[in-house]
């Protein structure tokens, strides 16, 4: 098997000077027996090399589905991309035939998942699953591929890599398994890494290790990183920009410091206010009342309005347009000024 790298470079429309990754007006729906669940309703994202974009939101807000749509691994049926583009260096991946699209996967855009125990194949060794990438995509021999696998394990700081390479996933600890997943994703030197809740299943101390490993690898490779999470604490240290999602839409996007200091959307603000703080000890915790809407039944108007402290009549009737409130900030709220407090 030949080396795929050259084939990817030959993709029609590929422009090395175009934006690394661009998602425009993405819509994804799931057609189920209980109705159509609109999981993603017009998401726009942008990513540059070396940049970390955190996608933040509650369970069910559509962040994982967005990631899967970018990768092209949505379960179709029941999931369908109904509108939008996903442009990698100018090439719209959604319009590529599957065979071509597959070349981009793992070679240019890679993904890691939340639970490494179930995400790794239990009946093959870790080395096999790593080496597979080299054998399939680079045409390497078994021996060479295995050497590269050991090298990868070293890169992700797994001790005693030479021995570990023949272990099975269940023989490793949670943190080590996640490192293996990271190694597997980085094997082919992709330009974009999407990490879907990479630390949610891990202990807090291990979380920190994994996040710092990711940060370092990203720096070394000048990779774009999309970090999907619901944990605001994890995000603060690592991200450059944050996109907050709710009910399938990006409701606010801003550089990390700005968003923590001056949230411009009611939801973001409520999220930040609900974080327990040591200096507010003794006071009742703030909670956002209500529940996120069922995706088969998203409210008309602004999806957040039933739970919003700032909601007024117009919020019930019309979805909020996206305001560019600063050079690199957007927010979709009718009352941005009020939320910002200006």
């Amino acid at each position: 098997m030949t080396d795929i790298r050259a084939q990817v470079d030959a993709l029609p429309g590929l422009d090395p000077r175009a934006a690394l990754l661009e998602v425009n007006d993405l819509h994804v729906e799931f057609r189920t027996r209980d109705g159509v669940a609109r999981a993603v309703n017009g998401v726009d994202l942008r990513l540059s090399p070396g940049e970390t974009l955190a996608v933040l939101g509650e369970s069910g807000c559509g962040k994982s589905v967005t990631a899967q749509a970018i990768m092209g691994i949505l379960d179709t049926p029941p999931g369908y991309v109904t509108r939008g583009e996903v442009r990698y260096r100018g090439v719209d991946l959604l319009r590529l035939p599957e065979k071509e699209r597959r070349k981009v996967r793992a070679n240019r855009i890679a993904m890691i998942f939340q639970d490494a125990l179930s995400a790794l194949n239990p009946v093959y060794t870790v080395g096999f699953q790593l080496a597979e990438q080299f054998r399939v995509h680079r045409g390497m021999s078994r021996k060479d591929a295995k050497l590269r696998a050991i090298d990868l394990l070293d890169q992700v700081r797994i001790p005693d890599a030479r021995r570990r390479v023949d272990d099975y996933p269940h023989q490793l600890s949670g943190g080590m398994r996640q490192r293996v997943m990271i190694a597997m994703a980085l094997a082919l030197d992709p330009e974009v890494l999407i990490a879907d809740e990479p630390t949610t299943a891990l202990d807090v101390t291990v979380q920190a290790q994994i996040m710092s490993l990711l940060a370092e690898l990203q720096r070394q490779r000048d990779m774009g990183l999309i970090l999907i999470t619901h944990d605001m604490g994890v995000v603060a240290d690592v991200a450059d920009r944050i996109a907050v999602m709710y009910a399938g839409k990006v409701v606010e996007e801003a550089p990390v410091h700005d968003i923590y200091a001056y949230p411009a959307h009611a939801y973001t603000k409520a999220l930040l206010e609900s974080i327990p703080r040591l200096d507010l000890k003794g006071r009742p915790l703030n909670v956002i009342r209500g529940l996120p809407p069922a995706l088969t039944d998203i409210p008309i108007g602004c999806a957040f309005h039933p739970r919003c402290a700032y909601a007024r009549e117009i919020c019930r009737l019309e979805p909020a347009p996206t305001y560019q409130i600063a050079p690199r900030r957007t927010a979709s709220c009718h009352f941005v000024r009020e939320v910002l407090g200006v």
Binding site: V287, I288, G290
Partner: protein, 304 residues
């Protein structure tokens, strides 16, 4: 520890006040109702039940009214399928055959179910040495090849030449067939046992018996029911097999298996005495297995 409690401003969503159990059963019934295969099976089962309970509804002939002179005569004179080698009305025999087949099937399944339930429940709930002991017991029963064990046992139980073998066959099938039910029950109990609601009940002081009967049993019963439905089909087939081999129902009992055995040697000349009991037998077994399938699919949340 901080002494302030969380005063939540969240309005808790309405939790349905029905227990887990009834909603699962209710869902299953809705599922079941919508499946074609369930209705086909149900209709077949009802027809067969009718045949077993009121055979006179289906035929006015007497299956035991056998006149040798009519040997292998064709259809006619009210005998839809002709006559067998003894001159008995094939249709009548087939219709009346439903009764004993169903009787044996249901009784044997009840026995097997009871044994399986008790063994599985105890082994799963108590674990430890009791589980080990009971599991070895299961292994022993399983190690004896089913058909061979059945033949030996049935023969032994029916050693009295006067008997028609009914009791022997029922006990044999029941005593040899409970193993799958026990295993299924055991694993359902083991997974139910570890659920939080059981721990909660135990904390509240529930006795083992109460825990087993009120909490664990209802929630482990559905896979067990599925096994029993299929077991019913298997036992009906089992009785036919034993009767065919001469160790099941005998004497003047009427059974599909017996009819098939008797028709065998003459099959080259007349096919009807072989074919019709075969069709009825197969259809009956099919009906129960389809029923079991439909019930299992209805209870399986993963298939929705």
């Amino acid at each position: 520890m901080s002494d302030n409690n969380v005063v939540s401003t969240v309005e808790a969503p309405d939790v349905p006040s029905e227990g887990k159990l009834s909603s699962l059963a209710g869902d299953a019934w809705l599922e079941l109702r919508s499946r074609k295969i369930f209705w086909i099976a149900a209709v077949l089962v009802v027809v067969i039940l009718l045949m077993a309970l009121w055979p006179s509804l289906f035929t006015s002939a007497d299956p035991r009214d056998c006149v040798l002179a009519r040997k292998h005569a064709g259809a006619g004179g009210g005998a839809l399928f002709g006559y067998d080698f003894q001159g008995c009305d094939v249709y009548a025999k087939t219709v009346y055959g439903a009764r004993d087949s169903l009787l044996v099937g249901i009784s044997a399944t009840l026995i097997a179910g009871l044994i399986g339930l008790v063994v599985g429940l105890l082994a799963g709930y108590f674990g430890g040495w009791l589980d080990a002991l009971l599991s070895r017991f299961v292994d022993v029963v399983l190690a004896i090849p089913f058909l061979l064990g059945a033949i030996v046992l049935a023969k032994r139980l029916a050693s009295d030449p006067e008997s028609n073998g009914l009791f022997a066959v029922i006990v044999t099938l029941g005593v040899l067939g409970w193993t799958t039910a026990a295993r299924v029950m055991r694993s359902a109990v083991i997974s139910a046992k570890n659920q939080d609601y059981v721990t909660a009940a135990r904390m509240l002081g529930a006795s083992p018996a109460r825990l087993m009967l009120r909490h664990i049993l209802p929630n482990s019963i559905s896979p067990f029911i599925v096994v029993l439905t299929v077991l019913l089909g298997i036992n009906i087939a089992g009785e036919a097999t034993l009767s065919y081999l001469g160790v099941g129902l005998k004497g003047d009992a009427i059974s599909w298996g017996l009819a098939i055995a008797e028709a065998g040697p003459y099959a080259r000349t007349v096919a009807a005495p072989l074919v019709w009991p075969s069709i009825f037998l197969a259809a009956t077994v099919l009906a129960f297995i389809m029923l079991g399938d439909a019930v299992r699919d209805a209870f399986d949340p993963k298939l929705r």
